[in-house]
Symmetry: C2
Subunit: 111 residues, 2 copies
DNA sequence: GACTTAGTTTGAAGTTCGTCAATATAGAAA
DNA sequence: TTTCTATATTGACGAACTTCAAACTAAGTC
């Protein structure tokens, strides 16, 4: 299911079971403190991308754990990564964040 | 930790461990399809509120499970409920949704 | 080739989560 | 006060999640 199909405003009409399934998958990916910090680190990093080696420092968890969380974020469509030589660089997919943000926006009450 | 303290934009600066902890607590609450549908049903219901009896119908899960999920949403500060006679009515706290929505917004890139 | 560094995958341990049946509580009505 | 309806709580169980150590892969260097 695409972003557009699942990320309808939450507050306008009741979500279908399918919409809720897709949307909750993405919120669940944001529902872990390590993943949220990783996402934030990547998004706020100069150039909009960060190498895994820059993400590993300053975290209390092991390398494999970082790797696991990056995979979750990747498979949820929130980030993407590509290898350049020895290093792998990750960046946020801004459209995904925007879609989630809009799903939460209150529908304007008619004046 | 208050909404204002935790719901800073994700993409501007790296979240602190504390900020990420609070923010992820709220996203985790949205990370279940049943909870997301409940939230959506309440938010989109006429009058902005819904009685539990209106939420129970049309769900494949048991009453206690609905009750459990409403409690999670309540304890996360996303909804509130009050009893009126026999029934308990829940409504969404719009400020909470707005804060989460803003946390996901991309920071504007300087032109 | 052998060695090193960056990152991922695998497998297992411990924990948290979602669910339900059974039980409990709160209020209305008889 | 007994009974009925609406909702919540408790306790249990299986599934899913987070984490790490160990093993693996991919690229660069000697």
């Amino acid at each position: 299911m695409t972003l557009a199909q699942c990320c309808v405003p939450l507050t306008a009409d009741p979500l279908t079971a399918e919409e809720a399934g897709e949307l909750s998958r993405r919120f669940k990916a944001l529902g872990d403190p390590v993943r949220l910090r990783l996402l934030s680190l990547i998004a706020s990093h100069e150039g909009g991308e960060a190498c895994v080696c820059e993400l590993t420092v300053g975290f209390e968890v092991s390398g494999p754990t970082i790797s696991h969380h990056l995979k979750v974020l990747r498979e949820t469509g929130l980030i993407e990564g590509d290898r350049r030589g020895t290093w792998i660089y990750y960046r946020v997919l801004p459209e995904a964040l925007r879609a989630l943000s809009e799903a939460l926006l209150p529908t304007r009450v008619p004046a």
